[in-house]
Amino acid sequence: MEAFLFYLIAGVTGLCAIATVVTQNIVRSATWLLFTLAGVSAIFFLLGADVVGATQLMVYVGGTLVLVVFGVMLTAQGPFITMKTSSAEWAVSATVGLILLAVLAMGIFTLGPTRLSRPDVPSPSAADKDNHPRLAQIREGLAKKALAEEKLISETKQTANLNSQPGSAPASAVIGEALLGVPAGPPHIEGVGATARPVRATYLLPFEIVSVHLLVVLIGAAYLARAKRRRGASS
């Protein structure tokens, strides 16, 4: 069921993203972007990140995208402007894009599950060892380190009685507390060897930096976009 939903939503999202690129009319492009963003928000809901999904809907769809279309309306000379991209440019950008996509996909599938997802840490197989001895060595080391980390984490969890099991605490509350400086989430290992100790992150500083950043953006945008007389305008 989850797989079906994923492939459905991901397919629609991907097609809409491609349509965003291909469309020449800028407002249609923004409409396709709307569908893409809504699809991404659905993906977030599917991943259980409902706070992120709702924020995506509210900030992107209700805010940023409206801003973008507003900008189009303010800067359009005639109705439904299109700026043609020449076919040579198209060919170049499409080729570069496809190459980039191929590289990324190769990277994703060769990376292996060791560092991507913790639950299924595989032991390095014999075939891997034969093919890439150095890679297998690294993987082995990583798997060992991961196992050690996991052990340390589970010990810490038991002693600290952490509330980090998914579903055991409302995640929105955890995120809110994390942004207010309460340590959240599973501990990370800091240091190596004998000095390794679990550290839990707090997010008060990023939160404050983002707030100050938003204030700066507010002032900066208001300053940049303030009403000025156009050059050459007679009145």
């Binding site: 409902d50 809907l57 509210m58 209700g62 507003f70 189009v72």
Partner: protein, 423 residues
Amino acid sequence: MACPLLAASTLSTWVIVVAFIAAALLIGLMLVSAIFSVWLERKVAGRIQDRLGPTRVGGKFGWLQTLADGVKLLAKEDFIPAVADQMLFRVGPYIALVGSFMGFLALPFGVGVVAMEMNIAVFFMLAAMSSEVFGIILIGYGSGSKWSLFGGMREAAQMVSYEIPMALCVIVPVIVAGTMNLHTIALQQTGGIWNWYIFHDPFTFAAFWTYFTCAMASCKRAPFDLAEAESELVAGFHTEYSGFRWLVIFMAEYGSMVAVSGIANVMFLGGWSLGIPVELAESLKFDFLSFTAFGRDLNLGLILGNVINVVVFIFKCWFLVFIMMWVRWTLPRLRIDQVMMTCLKYLVPIACVLLVGVSLWQLLLPAAVATILSWVIFGLSMAGLAWFAWTLKTFASAKPGDAMAGMWRMTDVPGYQGAKQPT
């Protein structure tokens, strides 16, 4: 109908069936609400303007007027202007409708009667309904008409601005409740009208009125309906629409009216609570009414109580919609700069003060004082309501032929010489 859709463990055929039933019920509710609201709007408008409103179609009160309107709209030519952007013109109304419908997903109608129980239900509702504005902008832009474009731009500016105080006002009862789960918030307010969050403290009381003002503006209802100001913009963003798509636009508008009323209802007015100190679904759950069907333990009393709850909830929402209509047909429309000023210079600061105030109230005030003060607020509001009802009653009891009570009479002015007679 309670189905935690996204809990991966329960995803099965049964859940899919229930999800479809829930969606069908919600769409049905939206349709019925729209049909009823349009009829009510015409009736209320008529009465406020000293007319009768619809009287012919379907009996004495014109019950079937909306259906007749719907048939007329379906039969109308679906016209797309030649200069319109075909795709945007077609897709805009549906985006608006989807945005308004998604809000209903998280709305609890009774104990456990919620399509998708979420931890962040109220945030989700606001977020989903904020995507409605994009549909409106597309409608305005895609129509290829000056009036539509102006309407769309006004709408964009207005809705994006009014979202801020609206969300801030919603946070006020969230701070009191300690959760964003609408179902939990409604359950916390059962057991007597004095438990409703509007009477919790002065800040929630003020937050309700501020929220309701913002909600009216975000549904582009008068006095904030600048996006469709007939006197300046013909019909605003939907000037070029006719037929079925116009119907869809209005479905979206009335749907979002009901949805914001639903939020107000759950956050401030006790949700499905009747205001009596018993919870119907729980207290009707007698043992002898239990039975088993579809492999589940059900209880006739529980179902009956929940049906009453749902009916109460829907009627409360419709009452709030009625108040929106009342305001619409009573107050004159603001100017666009006044609309923006109301939001940015007054409502945003007010909402910020309320937010800080309720936080301090929750943190600093001793529980005993808070209880006493909440009772004082409750008593004062009830007295105010009684006074208001009494005033209405004396207005209505003016004898035929009399001047209406409160009317300003020329003859009372000292030095009045009588009306000039035409010579």
